[in-house]
Symmetry: C2
Subunit: 233 residues, 2 copies
């Protein structure tokens, strides 16, 4: 039993998602040191003295994006503890977190903005990330897609004020589907506490201006937003 109470090092890794230029993007940093020097990785950091992992994640999020964890729906994705997941040292275990950001003015405004970029997730999934971050990204995306159905987190991708069309784009980009505009409009405006009219309007390039909304008080979305089932072969 000498190894029964092994000690490990803990980190919190972040999957921060946003939508920019019509594509779903995640915040990644370019690694400066070995291992995986030069490769892209999810931002993250070590657990410190008197904080919980949730607090570690919130602190890292603030450092990377300059945003508080309050409005970003920070949620645990899972724990990744394969013995060989970090070649540096035995046993670095990480807890992955999902955060959702609106389209930020700057790529990264934080103090620790070494080489952070918002890159499309499909690009990241094709090119591959350091460590087991491919697994983490996949699981975080799956969680985000599921949460869109039952919770009101889609508004977190939008700014303070947004149009129904922008909200619909969130669903379409993350689910990779096309949704019926009229039905979507009725659905979200009738769901209790999802969106609230501000009274303002936003001119469009070439059409009728869209009414502006802000996020409502509700946390869960009832009835849920139906996700079109993928077409079968």
């Amino acid at each position: 039993m000498s190894r029964a109470r092994q000690t490990v090092t803990l980190t919190a890794d972040l999957v921060v998602l946003t939508i920019r230029e019509g594509t779903l993007r995640a915040l990644v940093v370019e690694r400066g040191n070995e291992p995986f020097a030069g490769k892209l990785a999810l931002p993250g950091g070590f657990l410190r003295g008197e904080e919980s992992l949730d607090e570690t994640a919130a602190r890292e999020l603030a450092e990377e994006t300059g945003l508080s964890a309050e409005k970003l729906h920070l949620r645990q994705v899972g724990v990744y503890s394969a013995p060989d997941r970090d070649p540096r040292r035995p046993r670095v275990v990480t807890c992955a977190y999902l955060a959702i950001a609106p389209n930020l003015p700057l790529p990264t405004a934080g103090s620790d903005a070494r080489s952070a970029h918002w890159l499309p997730v499909d690009l990241l999934q094709r090119s591959g990330l350091a460590f087991d971050h491919d697994d983490i990204l996949r699981d975080a995306l799956e969680l985000a897609r599921a949460e869109l159905q039952f919770r009101t987190i889609a508004t977190a991708f939008c700014g303070e004020e947004f149009t129904i069309g922008e909200l619909r784009e969130v669903y379409e980009v993350i689910w990779g589907v096309r949704l019926d505009k009229p039905n979507f409009h009725r659905k979200v405006t009738e769901a209790a506490g999802f969106v609230v009219r501000t009274g303002g309007k936003r001119p469009t390039a070439n059409g009728r201006p869209a009414a502006l909304y802000r996020a409502g008080a509700a946390d869960t979305l009832t009835p849920p937003m139906m996700r079109p089932r993928p077409v079968e072969a």
Copy 2:
């Protein structure tokens, strides 16, 4: 930054649920040592040398129940890492797992069956558990209730063969509701891959014998089982 790479001890704690005598029960052990000596706690154990936390949980599950993790739907609930959650030592962080067991022949058949009991969860929630296990139990129950809606895990509470009435009891006990028998019957028998008729019958105490089913191949339940929304005030 001297404390930046603090090391911690990791454990995996288990919420093993089953249904017995019409009540939802969880496996708990009576603690022999301080802290919390004499109090009830969730079973769990320390991460060992070359295993992942998932493997730690599976190993503990086998030790406590004698069952393999294969069929028990072992799933991560979350990480609990408050700095003061374990008064023994600085920083014992745990990852909680949910497992679902059929009505086992023995309370605990494993080798490490010190003082394990299947106790009703409402009793545990009233009397309180050691450490932060009240939080863990609450979160695990919430996860189990949610999974019942969208996945076919309800069959894991039943034995190899079961009747539709037994399956309905699973939903009724865990959700704490009454479900319409005819509608439930049609729903589960028509959901693709949820249950499969074996051809056998089980005599009842006083009525028509019930047809026997076994778990189907499907993992997700489409369409989902609707959960009656709690009555409002």
